[in-house]
C-alpha cells in the first residue's frame, strides 16, 4: 500500500530525537568555534534520556519499515547537530562496510568497535580506481603503504577500513578493503582537517608506512582479483547503496533545521505561509519558503525511497544515487536560500543557520560528488559502461 503518513510509533521516536536535538544544539556553536576539541562521547544532560534506537523495539507492521525509519532518525539527529550527539554510539562508515562485506567471524571480531572508512587520497577524489595505497601479501601479513585524507571520524575511531590495491594494473578489480586498528605500528593519523563546516567533526588525514596487519583483516576474506570488469568492485558499491541515502539524510536534517528556524523567525515577524493559497496570493518570501520546503520534501522522499528499496533487498543503485544527488543539492541550496531570506542578521553567528549552511556544503561532495552520482545515473539509464560515458 502506498502511504506517506508516519504512525504514532514513528512520530514518538522522531519526537524524542528532536527533543534531544534541542539539547544538543546548545553545544553546537561551542564545538564549531573550538574545532581542536572533540565533542564528548555523551552529553551529561543525556544521562537519563532514552536511547531512541532502543525505542524501536515495540514496533509493528503498520509502522514505517526499519530501513526507512532509521534514515528519518538520521535526519532528526543531524537536525540537532551534525557533530555533537547526546551519545555517540553509532559506528563510522567502516562499520557499514563491515556489515555489508565482512565475514561473520569478522563482524563478531570487531563488534562494538568504531570503524572509519579511508578511501580518498590526495591524488584522487571521486576517482576511486586511481587509488595508490597498496596492500602486499607477505607471508601471513598484509603490508599496507599509502596516504589517506578526508577520513570521517578517523581521529577518534578504534580502527579504519582502508581501501588499497593488490594490483594497480587491475584497476577497480584490484581494490580491496582492510581493517586496520589504531595501535598497529606504521599507522599514523597525521592531522585533523580544518574545514568550512562540520568543524567539530573529526576528519582525519592518515599515513600507512609498512603497516603490517594479519592476513584475515582483508574484509570478506576473498583474496582473488576478479577478471577485469567482472565487478569485484561490487561489494564496495553495495556499501554505497546503503550509505549514500544515509549521507543524504544527514545533510538533509540540517537543511530541515535551517528551514524550521527560518520559518519560525519569519512567523515571529508576521510572515507565514497559508497553504490554501497559491502563487498569485503569496508574498515573495512565502513563495521562497514554499519552494525550499518542496525541495526538502522531494529530497526526503527520494531518500526514503532508496532506503525502502534497500530494506526490501531490492537493487537500488540508481535510486541511491538519486537520493544522494538530490539530497546533496537540496542540503546545500536550501540552507543557502534560508540565509538569503534572513538577510544581514542571518549571516551573523548569533544563530545556527550560517553554521548549517557551512555544515551542509559537504553533503554534495563526500561519498561521491553530485557529478559522480549523475554519471552513475546516466550510465544506467543510457545503458553505457563507464568506458562509454566517463
Amino acid at each position: 500500500m502506498i502511504d506517506f503518513q508516519l504512525t504514532e510509533n514513528d512520530e514518538k521516536v522522531l519526537a524524542e530525537i528532536r527533543r534531544q536535538g534541542l539539547i544538543v544544539r546548545e553545544h553546537a556553536r561551542y564545538y564549531d568555534e573550538h574545532e581542536d576539541e572533540f565533542p564528548p562521547d555523551s552529553l551529561p544532560e543525556g544521562k537519563d534520556l532514552p536511547n531512541p534506537f532502543s525505542m524501536l523495539g515495540g514496533r509493528n507492521e503498520e509502522d514505517t519499515p526499519m530501513g526507512v525509519i532509521v534514515l528519518l532518525m538520521a535526519m532528526a539527529q543531524s537536525w540537532g547537530d551534525y557533530s555533537v550527539r547526546i551519545r555517540n554510539t553509532i559506528g563510522g562508515l567502516g562499520n557499514a562496510a563491515l556489515r555489508a562485506s565482512g565475514t561473520e567471524e569478522q563482524m563478531l571480531r570487531w563488534n562494538g568497535k568504531t570503524l572509519a572508512m579511508a578511501i580518498t587520497e590526495p591524488g584522487c577524489g571521486s576517482d576511486s580506481k586511481a587509488i595508490q595505497t597498496t596492500a602486499v601479501l607477505d607471508g601471513e601479513e598484509w603490508v599496507i603503504n599509502g596516504e589517506k585524507i578526508f577520513v570521517t571520524t578517523g581521529c577518534r575511531a578504534d580502527g579504519v577500513v582502508v581501501w588499497a590495491t593488490l594490483d594497480r594494473a587491475a584497476g577497480r578489480s584490484g581494490i580491496k578493503s582492510f581493517v586496520i586498528m589504531k595501535e598497529t605500528p606504521g599507522f599514523e593519523v597525521t592531522h585533523k582537517e580544518k574545514k568550512l563546516g562540520i568543524r567539530a567533526d573529526d576528519t582525519a588525514a592518515m599515513v600507512f608506512k609498512d603497516c603490517r596487519i594479519p592476513r584475515d583483516h582483508l574484509l570478506g576474506g576473498n583474496e582473488e582479483i576478479p577478471k577485469h570488469g567482472s565487478g569485484g568492485f561490487r561489494g564496495v558499491m553495495k556499501t554505497f547503496n546503503m550509505t549514500r541515502p544515509s549521507v543524504a539524510a544527514t545533510g538533509l536534517g540540517m537543511a530541515m533545521a535551517a528551514l524550521d528556524f527560518t520559518r519560525d523567525a519569519l512567523a515571529d515577524e508576521g510572515v507565514e505561509v497559508d497553504w490554501e493559497r497559491g502563487t498569485h496570493s503569496r508574498s515573495a518570501i512565502e513563495q521562497k519558503l514554499v519552494e525550499i520546503e518542496a525541495d526538502i520534501e522531494a529530497a526526503r522522499l527520494a531518500i526514503c525511497h532508496a532506503a525502502w528499496l534497500a530494506g526490501r533487498g531490492e537493487e537500488n543503485n540508481v535510486e541511491a544515487s538519486i537520493s544522494k544527488a538530490k539530497g546533496g543539492e537540496v542540503a546545500r541550496t536550501a540552507t543557502q536560500r534560508c540565509l538569503e531570506i534572513l538577510g544581514a542578521v542571518g549571516i551573523t553567528r548569533d544563530h545556527l543557520v550560517e553554521k548549517w549552511c557551512r555544515d551542509t556544503r559537504i553533503t554534495d561532495i563526500y561519498e561521491g560528488t553530485g557529478q559522480i552520482q549523475r554519471l552513475i545515473i546516466a550510465r544506467k539509464i543510457l545503458g553505457y559502461s563507464s568506458a562509454e560515458l566517463s
Binding site: 509502522d63 490554501e276 522522499l301 539509464i381
Partner: protein, 368 residues
C-alpha cells in the same frame, strides 16, 4: 507508515492502462494534435476500460472499484505517457465524477452517477478556471446567488476540458459573504440550462483535448444543484483532487519525454559519438531522471493524503510547486537534446513541449 508499494490490484490496473497507452494512444497522438480533435473511437475505448468511471459504486450502476486517488495517480501517469492531450480528453469526465463521489449528496449521486456508469463515453467537466491572468481559487469571481430557492450563476469559465461535449458541468462559484476558499461552493449545472453558452478554446498545447470557454449568464439551477446539498462541500478538497490529477499527468508526460530523449541521445551521432556519451547531454538526462522520481513521490504523497481524507493543502501545494516546475524543465530540456529536430513536427518532442507548458498551468483537467 511510509511505503512505496502499490497494491496488486493497482499494479494490474497500471499494466492494463500502460498497454492501452502503447496500443491506442501513441500512434494517433500527433494526428489528433494537428487536427485539434479527439476521435470518438478513442473515447469509447477509453470508456470501456473504465478509466474515468470505474470507481462509481455498483449501487449506481458502476464497476464498484475501490475509490482511490492513489490508483488514479497511477492511471493518469500511464495515460499521459501515451499522450497528455488524449489523456486529458479521456479523463475529463473524472473531473466531475470523482468530486461527486467524494462530496456529493446521496440524492446527487443517485441522480447523476448512473448516467456516467453507462456503456458510452459521456462528457462532464469541472469548470474552475476563469478569465483573470492572476486567477487564483481564493479570488474566483463567478457568482452563485441564491434567490427564490434557486441559484443564479454568472461568470465566465475558461479551459473547461471537453466543454463542448459535456452534458453536465461542475461549476465552482462564490456563494455567500465569506472570503477566500471558504466562500466557494460547487454546482452541478446541466449544459442545456438556459444562460449557458459554450465556445471552443484554441490552445497552445493539449490540442487533442478540446477545451471550452463556458459562459454562465444568469443560469438558474435548483437548490439541489449545490454539491453536497445544503451543507455545501469542501471546495479545497475538490481543488486538490483536480490539481493533483494534473500533476499526475505531468508525471507520465515527463517520463515519456525522458524516454524519447534517451533513445535519441543513444542514436544521434555528432562529433563522432552518440550525443548521449557527452556529459552535457548525459547529465541533463540524469537530472530528468532525478526529478522524475522526486516529482512522483511528491504527487503520490499528495494523493495519499487525499485518500486518507485529509485536506492535503500543504502536500498538494508542495507537489504543485515542484512538479510543475520540473515537468516544464524536463520538456524544455527534451527539446534541447533533440536540437533542431526538437523544433520540427516530424519528430515527437515539440508536441510534448507544448503539452507540458499547457498542462503545468492548469489545475482542472481531471480529478483524482
Amino acid at each position: 507508515m511510509i511505503s512505496f508499494d502499490p497494491t496488486e490490484e493497482q499494479e494490474l490496473i497500471r499494466d492494463s492502462v500502460r498497454e492501452f497507452a502503447a496500443s491506442e494512444m501513441r500512434e494517433i497522438a500527433r494526428a489528433c494534435d494537428e487536427a485539434e480533435r479527439v476521435p470518438d473511437e478513442f473515447l469509447e475505448k477509453s470508456w470501456e476500460l473504465g478509466l474515468a468511471n470505474a470507481q462509481i459504486p455498483e449501487a449506481y450502476g458502476g464497476a464498484g472499484l475501490e475509490r482511490s486517488p492513489i490508483t488514479n495517480v497511477l492511471v493518469a501517469e500511464e495515460l499521459a505517457y501515451g499522450c497528455a492531450g488524449l489523456a486529458a480528453a479521456a479523463l475529463a469526465p473524472a473531473s466531475l465524477i470523482h468530486p461527486l463521489l467524494d462530496l456529493g449528496s446521496e440524492d446527487q449521486k443517485k441522480a447523476h452517477l448512473p448516467g456516467f456508469a453507462g456503456s458510452g463515453y459521456r462528457a462532464g467537466a469541472l469548470a474552475l478556471h476563469e478569465q483573470h491572468f492572476s486567477f487564483e481559487l481564493a479570488n474566483l469571481g463567478t457568482l452563485a446567488e441564491p434567490k427564490n430557492g434557486e441559484f443564479r450563476i454568472t461568470g465566465t469559465k475558461r479551459m473547461v476540458p471537453m466543454g463542448e461535449r459535456a452534458e453536465l458541468f461542475l461549476v465552482v462559484a462564490r456563494c455567500g459573504a465569506r472570503e477566500g476558499v471558504a466562500g466557494l461552493e460547487a454546482f452541478l449545472v446541466p449544459a442545456d440550462t438556459p444562460g449557458v453558452s459554450v465556445q471552443r478554446e484554441k490552445t497552445m498545447g493539449l490540442r487533442a483535448a478540446p477545451f471550452a470557454r463556458v459562459e454562465f449568464d444568469d443560469a438558474r439551477v435548483s437548490a439541489e444543484a449545490q454539491l453536497g446539498g445544503e451543507a455545501g462541500c469542501d471546495v479545497a478538497r475538490l481543488a486538490n483532487l483536480a490539481r493533483t490529477a494534473s500533476l499526475a499527468l505531468a508525471l507520465g508526460q515527463s517520463r515519456a519525454v525522458l524516454d524519447f530523449a534517451i533513445d535519441y541521445a543513444r542514436e544521434r551521432v555528432a562529433f563522432g559519438q552518440p550525443i548521449g556519451q557527452k556529459q552535457a547531454i548525459a547529465f541533463m538526462l540524469a537530472e530528468m531522471r532525478i526529478e522524475l522520481n522526486s516529482m512522483r513521490w511528491l504527487v503520490w504523497q499528495a494523493a495519499s493524503q487525499l485518500e486518507r481524507g485529509n485536506a492535503s493543502n500543504r502536500e498538494t501545494r508542495l507537489a504543485q510547486t515542484y512538479a510543475n516546475r520540473e515537468a516544464m524543465k524536463i520538456a524544455d530540456n527534451g527539446v534541447q537534446i533533440f536540437g533542431g529536430h526538437g523544433f520540427i513536427r516530424d519528430y515527437p518532442i515539440e508536441m510534448w513541449f507544448r503539452n507540458a507548458r499547457a498542462l503545468t498551468v492548469l489545475e482542472g483537467v481531471t480529478a483524482l
